[in-house]
């Protein structure tokens, strides 16, 4: 059967957000600008980045996403995620160990409602006609610098975004437990571009992805979309085998 992750998440979970109620209502986030690039990574980290509940993709991948939300219930914010491409059973997903956000209010709300494991950082996203560039700076250091070069229009239907599995803690049956929270936003696209991906810098340790080494560019896209943050429907127990790990709420 396919390879599975070997990572023990206990070190991560202590710092993960606590989601005490799994009944957060949807958020409508109009006009989000989403820059995403994908890289293949070295196979030495194929299983070490993921917990036992998840299979790595073949080949192993990282998906870097920086999204500017100009409107939200907590005001504008920019969110940066570096996710590991994976499968939960047979379903395509992106595992998020740590992300960054430029707004304390958004950081708190996203953590409490959807289990986003975020830290505060300076996150910028700049759209130009020849390129779209994003940078994440934390503790006075650039931990992600990525660019889509030479954007060309495509249809939003040509894009496919992964649902996230956010590392979090949840309260189940009176106990606090480590869980991956599935977050699968809906997207109504206004425009979309693709281009050549370029990764200027990436500090794997800062994203809790020690050993992840981007080696081969795959794709880059930029979209403007109305995003609906979903109601939580699924949890994954990270320590269980893939076919036993998913809990439907």
């Amino acid at each position: 059967m396919p390879l599975t992750g070997t990572r023990n998440l206990s070190a991560l979970v202590g710092a993960a957000p606590l989601v005490s109620a799994l009944d957060a209502a949807q958020w409508d986030l109009p006009g989000a600008q989403i820059l995403q690039i994908m890289f293949e990574i070295g196979d030495e980290a194929m299983t070490s980045l993921l917990p036992p509940a998840l299979h790595p993709t073949i080949p192993p991948t990282l998906v870097f996403t920086v999204t500017r939300f100009p409107e939200s219930p907590v005001g504008p914010f920019v969110l940066a995620e570096t996710r590991v491409g994976c499968r939960s059973g047979a379903r395509p997903r992106g595992f998020l160990a740590r992300g960054y956000c430029d707004s304390p209010a958004a950081l708190k709300a996203l953590g409490e409602r959807w289990g986003y494991p975020l830290q505060l950082a300076e996150v910028t996203l700049a759209k130009r006609y020849d390129r779209i560039h994003a940078e994440v700076r934390a503790v006075s250091k650039t931990i992600l610098d990525m660019t889509l070069l030479n954007p060309e229009p495509v249809s939003g239907n040509d894009l496919q975004y992964l649902a996230s599995l956010n590392t979090a803690q949840v309260v189940r049956g009176g106990s606090t437990l480590p869980r991956l929270i599935q977050v699968d936003p809906e997207y109504a696209f206004r425009s979309a571009d693709r281009g050549k991906p370029q990764l200027g810098s990436f500090d794997a340790d800062a994203w809790q992805l020690a050993g992840a080494r981007p080696v081969h560019p795959v794709s880059a896209s930029f979209a403007v979309a109305d995003v609906t943050m979903p109601v939580i429907r699924y949890l994954v127990d990270p320590a269980k085998p893939p076919l036993e790990s998913v809990e439907r709420l």
Partner: protein, 368 residues
Amino acid sequence: MKFGLFFEISVPRPWEAETEYKVYQNCLEQVRLADELGFDQVWAVEHHFLEEYSHCSAPEVFLTACAMQTKNIRIGRGIVVCVPQFNNPIKAAEVAATMDIVSGGRLEFGTGRSATWTELGGFGADPDETKKTWDEWTRIIPKMWTQERFRYEGRAFSMPQRAILPKPYQKPHPPMWVAVTSPGTELDAADRGMGSLGLTFGGFAEQEKKIAEYRRRIKYCDPVGSFVNEQVNTVNFLFCHEDNEYGARTGQRLAGTFNYLAEQLLAARQAYPTRSYPNLGLLPALRREATSAPEGQIPEGLAIGNPDRIAEVVRKWEAVGVDRINFLLNAIETVPQEEVLASLRLFAKEVMPKFAAKPEPVAVGGGA
């Protein structure tokens, strides 16, 4: 109705020294038995880098071995990847002609373009280009087979005048097929006068609509080859057992394992934004639809269970317009080899006689 085998050649971990050897030997044994039992054809895929799911990167070699170990069964390249980073159209024509000669005119020639980033990225192929190069190759390969000398100035491929040798044994050339995984490719097959090599495991209703449209469109086709190959070929899982419950349970385990492995791969669509590959991950969705059923029920279109149930399933496929069914027999050896062989024997004894094969061949062998 004609019956065949379809091989992905999936190899379970751990990959020890004998693992791939053993799986290949099991497949060859299945082919030899199928030939003795009167199965009509054996198909093998061309896949690269697809860990566990398919270790069948040199199907021309495997199929030649099949031909050398059998007498009658036809051998199907399912498919030649018509993408220049994977193959070369001259070489593809030459290899196919040689296979046709050494097999005594038993080659079926399938064409396609790959659907995973795992493969396309591995070869450095541009996903935007694959449909275009497939289209160009399917027009020129039959001319390479039938013209004494061939020259071509094309978009992605050109060559000066040369004699491409040898020529196929079947005249004018082997039947040509298109692998149909993306929605609409069955119409591409019809428009070009090619057989539809369906790989989607769709249920009856879904397939009936597609087949009806294929039959309607092919009447007005502009054939790429020297003749129209109006045939609908489909893939199914086979596990036949006297005990219907055991047969269905084992067959569902086989189908579930296969689908699980297939969905670990990185589809082109999931990695690279392009209109060249359809949205929504349709192939996994179709596979799920076709192989899942409410608790306690058997998926309607799968050839699993006892002979009576399988015969009923085959009759329904025949009724919706399918000409041939090729069976996947195993996935990472989840079914013991002896049970696979017993299943084949039982199917041949109890089910095949109920579906007499049409006697006339599609293309006639005969050398010069």
